[in-house]
Amino acid sequence: MMVEIKDLHASVNGKEIIKGLNLSVRSGEIHAIMGPNGSGKTTLANAIMGHPKITIESGQILIDGKDANGMKTDERVKLGIFMQFQNPVEIDGVGLIQFLRTSKESITGSKINFKEFMDDIKESMKKLEMSDDFIKRSLNVGFSGGEKKKSEILQLMVLKPSIAILDEPDSGLDVDALKVVANNIQEIAKQNNMGVIIITHYSRILSYIRPDSVHVMIDGRIVANGDYELVKKIEKNGYESLQEKSK
């Protein structure tokens, strides 16, 4: 499984946000995309997922060799893509468990064994140190920022995609929760040979999940590529020097 982005130009409401971006991510690889606020990281994630407000002006997104242009969001997901949302929506009246079951059945196209499914959920919840109360609650309703992040990672663990885009999985988490979330991401990625794109501002989560590749995105372009050493540089010097470079 591979996601390839070739010279992508994308706009939102007529404003170009992604300005010629290239990226390839394979199953089993961990990529980090870092960058300051407003650099287009979330727009990139949404573009891969086929958000209706994003217009692809030129370039290509290929999912497992298939051109995603014109492909609906759910069709992309069925090919093995997952996105963890930075701010997941709250939907009152939709139970988290029933939602996950519907999602799993939609992706796999077959009915699931409910007992096995629940065992899987309970095990994942235990690993994420989530209370049993989540089983009874509506989707993200009344969840704290940290609980929402854990709920998203729970979905990742249950749905087991081939490539996961994690949009700021570290925001809103305290130090302990960050460690729990990061360890679980790493474990599920290893177990399922999952490709991971971690979008983040900060290096902290990357000290737990060591990326194979690090990309710095500024003003809709990738301006630097490297490995964990690049993370250290950013931690030390910030994005300023790279911003200069991008001009």
Binding site: D74, P88, V89, I91, D92, V94, I107, I135, S138, L159
Partner: protein, 418 residues
């Protein structure tokens, strides 16, 4: 001919009336007009289609203790009488005069075909009423909940699919001291019907009245609920749901009042409209002077599914007492595009995502339907309507997804799933 309250003789078959349409000064600019000249003509015997629909309802697992159609009225319960207007005693006649001064309500009260009188004596009773018509049918249900009792009245209304018809229901409820009365109305009329509905009450000390309505049928629905928490420490709760498609129109007014001290009134309404459908949600809460520690709550939400559909949510309050708590809120929007995207980003196709969101939207109110059978029927009908099926019958195999606040555990999510 001008309308005169309580004068049934003025409305012999074929007679017509013409009066002003909206008596509420507050809402006189916001209403859907009923036909200016309404007639009350009905066949004298049960139609073949009515019998067929009754049979189909039974097959779908919907049964009645009391059934009324044009030519048939049956009660299988000893404490439920079905009367015609000439058989009413003075107390019952007086009860029928209560309520809102409204064109539709007065028309149906003046043209009553049958009056169902419920005088339950046991501490807990549940009465299932069904009414079906292929022409015109007006009924009143007078319910008395004796002191300390709990009474549940469920009402199912249907008209024959394509036939022009009119169905009217007036509920008059008297909950005595410490009693609890729960009423459920499911309106699943055909798309060519005029639906008239009204409710009024008298409440004893520390009593509770819950009125739960689902309006899904009819070309025009005209509902007027005039409920007062008149007894000290009494509670009135109204839960309304409406789903409209095609050219359907809903004009729903909840008029609630705190009529005594320590009382609580709540009006919750939710509507979804699609195609060219329109809905006016009117809720007026009044807290008069001299009712300290009253609580009043008005909540309205709507989803408009198309550019040609619209919802007017019009909450209003009049508060003349200082030591009270009163809240109102209303919001109408299209279906949330971010919610759709989120569900699609979990592999759920757009149509199913829309269905999940609408079911969850209604689920909040449905979860307040304490009677699980009525909850099941209402959710099943709504499910059909969300699928675009305008049917006089609920689909017993309908999928349903919502969190039931009343039942704990995972399996509660599936209990409406066949």
């Amino acid at each position: 001919m001008l309308y005169e309250p309580g004068k049934r003789q003025a409305y012999e078959e074929g007679s017509k009336i013409s009066v002003r349409q909206e008596s509420s000064e507050l809402y006189k600019k916001h209403y859907f007009p009923l036909p200016a000249e309404m007639e009350h003509i009905k066949p004298k015997r049960m139609l073949k289609q009515e019998q067929e629909m009754l049979d189909r309802l039974k097959q779908a697992g919907i049964d009645f203790d009391v059934f009324v159609s044009n030519g048939l009225s049956i009660s299988s319960l000893p404490y439920v009488d079905i009367k015609i207007p000439g058989e009413l005693n003075e107390q019952e006649k007086s009860a029928l005069q209560a309520g809102i001064d409204d064109y539709g309500t007065r028309f149906l009260l003046a043209n009553l075909d049958k009056i169902i009188v419920i005088k339950a004596k046991s501490p807990a009773s549940r009465i299932r009423i069904g009414a079906i018509t292929g022409s015109r049918l007006n009924i009143a249900v007078i319910t008395t909940a004796p002191e300390g009792s709990q009474i549940t009245v469920t009402e199912y209304f249907g008209t024959i699919g394509e036939i022009d018809s009119q169905l009217g229901i007036a509920n008059i409820i008297h909950a005595e001291r410490n009693a609890r009365a729960s009423l459920y109305q499911i309106h699943n009329e055909g798309k060519n019907s005029i639906v008239l509905s009204s409710a009024s009450d008298a409440m004893g000390e520390n009593s509770t009245l819950s009125l739960n309505s689902m309006y899904g049928g009819g070309s025009i629905t005209h509902a007027r609920n005039f409920l007062v928490a008149s007894g000290p420490a009494s509670t009135v709760e109204i839960n309304d749901l409406a789903f409209g498609s095609g050219m359907q129109k809903f004009d729903i007014l909840d008029h609630v009042e705190n009529g005594s001290y320590n009382t609580k009134v709540e009006s919750r309404s939710k509507a979804v409209v699609s195609d060219f459908s329109a809905c006016i949600l009117k809720a007026f809460a009044r807290i008069p002077h001299g009712v300290p520690n009253a609580r009043s709550y008005v909540y309205q939400r709507g989803i408009s599914m198309s550019k040609d559909a619209h919802i007017d949510a019009l909450p209003d309050m009049s508060i003349d007492e200082s030591a009270v708590r009163a809240t109102h809120s209303s919001a109408v929007s299209p279906i949330d595009a971010d919610e759709i995207f989120y569900l699609m980003a979990r592999g759920i196709e757009r149509g199913k995502a829309r269905k999940i969101i609408l079911n969850s939207f209604f689920g909040e109110i449905l979860a307040r339907f304490g009677d699980l059978e009525m909850q099941r029927i209402a959710s099943s009908i709504l499910d059909n309507r969300i699928e675009g099926i305008f049917s006089a019958l609920p689909n017993p195999n309908a999928e349903f997804m919502h969190v039931d606040a009343a039942v704990e555990g995972i399996e509660s999510h599936y209990k409406y799933r066949k």
